[in-house]
Symmetry: C2
Subunit: 345 residues, 2 copies
């Protein structure tokens, strides 16, 4: 068996040049007076600046850790769909997606794009479709990030199982792209963004699917739940039992043809539980590097988010490791698979 | 070493006679016309009815599973603090607490009470103190359930680290009682009550403590986080790393003198992770029986919530098992410890 490509399915552009954040601050300052700008054209970031921001950061760490290819989307905490209105989000998403596209063009062997959507609280998800189509058809992006809570911690949208979201799912199925279900910054002071809101959203999304028959309506729809699935694998018995009480089919039939988990779990015991409890076909390698947890674990001497080490050390066979590192990503992201096939992988 | 008492620190009166629910329905029907009743005195449940509801259910299963003593509080999902106003909750809490007290009097060797509080969205937590004092001083209760989100899934209260909650903490410290941090029914359609809201609240509460210096202000305050700590142990590396980024002390110093986790995790791999990752001194036996997950796991042939089996099978020594079953509960619930000491344990 050949060595797997190491595909990290969860990377965000957390290191974009400072000009991006400055542009966003101006956009926010003028929310009520958008005519005062800034225009998208006022954001100027050169290819050299992009190159430097990637080479000194993500690419450096990818080389050090031996990962090959990152599915790369705009910074999750900066999506901040709760800010402004639909037009605010449309402009901001277009800018952020374009930057990820440019990174994928500058480093075509190492980065491939996934899109953020121009979601906004109360807006019909169908309003995200034009940006989604543009990102897939013009930018060659292979997936999207779908925010189940554009309100940023107030949870004012219907559950993901509601028909509210169906127009988006129809387009996803048509284009054959999966969604990573990923919230953004919490503006609810109860929820710390990366320590509570992210994990809560993962658990919540899974349960919204469990209680519904969403995947009967969309048998080929695929959701990737990040951060190791929130609380789900740790409580797998609870979820199996709840499904049983509700007379749902076993989770393997009910959800596991459509729901996948990434490996953004930052210690060995967590990864061991994940790979032990969840069928290996449903686990995709990811690190969310450079992200919420950037330090070195004093217990191991290695970066917390160097998740490849945990997968290498997990008690699984080489075939399973191949699936986690490469095979499952190619299954979940068919457009990535087609691209890699064209490149001879 | 003697055999431990098996103390289940997380039981709710989920099997109360139907008259209780009927009374509550009438209370809810008259929320806007409370003068129409019902009065508390209109709820009549005999000792025989209480006995039967316990003997046929919790006590039967305690005997079958070999647990000795349950810390018993009103049904969590029925607290529903979001319904009505402070007066609604005061009346309802008093009724529910009295029933748990009566159960503890009917079965003094097997049940000891913990109180629900008459919380209400927007109400000052100090308004819960009279009921709390009554339950401890008159009913001999040994702990409380503290709802960090009385709104029922809208999370409109300040974080647990906010001074908003301090009057309650001062009283808890004075009376030397811990709080189980436990939400109630979700009235937000995004959150399934037992599959999402409960686990999210556990994770959220832990993170609210992590980002704060609450336990510097209250060094002897104790929180028990139920459902195995939500997502926390599974993501222990993430939480260690986040604390490190925030320049907080190691979690063992920062939180683990004050925060404890129960064992309501309904499969062996989850319990194995919990007892492997979290210091054993911070883990308290519990099952939340009869609760959210009542079925039999087809993979084991045993009840999902028969958590004693998982503790017995975990790779820990007899001393550790003693602590989980008895010792830690006596440390976290000093009033229980005093009672057991008086009884010769």
């Amino acid at each position: 068996m050949r060595k797997p490509l190491i595909i990290d399915c969860h990377g965000h552009y957390t290191t974009a040049p400072a000009a991006l954040e400055e542009w966003r601050k101006r956009q926010i300052a003028n929310l009520n007076t958008p005519a005062l700008g800034p225009k998208p054209s006022e954001l100027r970031i050169s290819d050299d600046e992009l190159r430097e921001s990637i080479e000194a950061n993500q690419l450096r760490l990818m080389r050090a850790r031996g990962s090959d290819l990152t599915i790369f989307s705009p910074r999750a905490s900066f999506m901040a769909h709760h800010i402004g209105d639909l037009e605010t989000s449309k402009t901001w998403a277009a800018i952020c997606n374009e930057l990820c596209y440019r990174v994928s063009q500058l480093f075509p062997d190492h980065f491939i794009g996934a899109a953020m959507l121009p979601q906004s609280p109360g807006a019909d998800p169908a309003t995200s479709i034009p940006e989604l189509e543009r990102c897939v058809r013009e930018y060659g992006m292979v997936g999207i990030n779908l925010n189940p809570d554009p309100s940023g911690g107030h949870w004012t949208s219907p559950p993901l199982s509601d028909r509210h979201w169906y127009p988006l799912y129809e387009k996803m199925v048509e284009l054959d792209i999966p969604a990573m279900v990923h919230v953004s910054t919490s503006c609810n002071p109860c929820f710390h963004t990366t320590g509570a809101h992210y994990l809560n959203a993962d658990t919540t999304a899974f349960m919204q699917c469990l209680t519904s028959d969403l995947f009967k309506d969309f048998p080929t729809l695929k959701f990737l739940i990040p951060h190791g699935g929130g609380a789900v694998p740790y409580h797998w018995g609870r979820f199996r039992g709840l499904a049983q009480e509700m007379k749902k089919p076993p989770l393997s039939e009910h959800l596991l043809n459509n729901i996948f988990f990434d490996t953004c779990v930052y210690h060995q015991p967590g990864i061991d539980l994940l790979t032990n409890v969840i069928p290996v076909k449903n686990v995709l390698f990811a690190s969310e590097m450079i992200g919420a947890v950037r330090g070195i674990d004093p217990e191991t001497g290695h970066y917390y988010d160097d998740t490849r080490r945990y997968i290498e050390a997990a008690d699984i066979g080489d075939e399973d490791r191949f699936r986690i590192f490469e095979g499952n990503a190619r299954h979940v992201y068919p457009r990535l698979d087609a691209l890699l096939t064209r490149k001879g992988f």
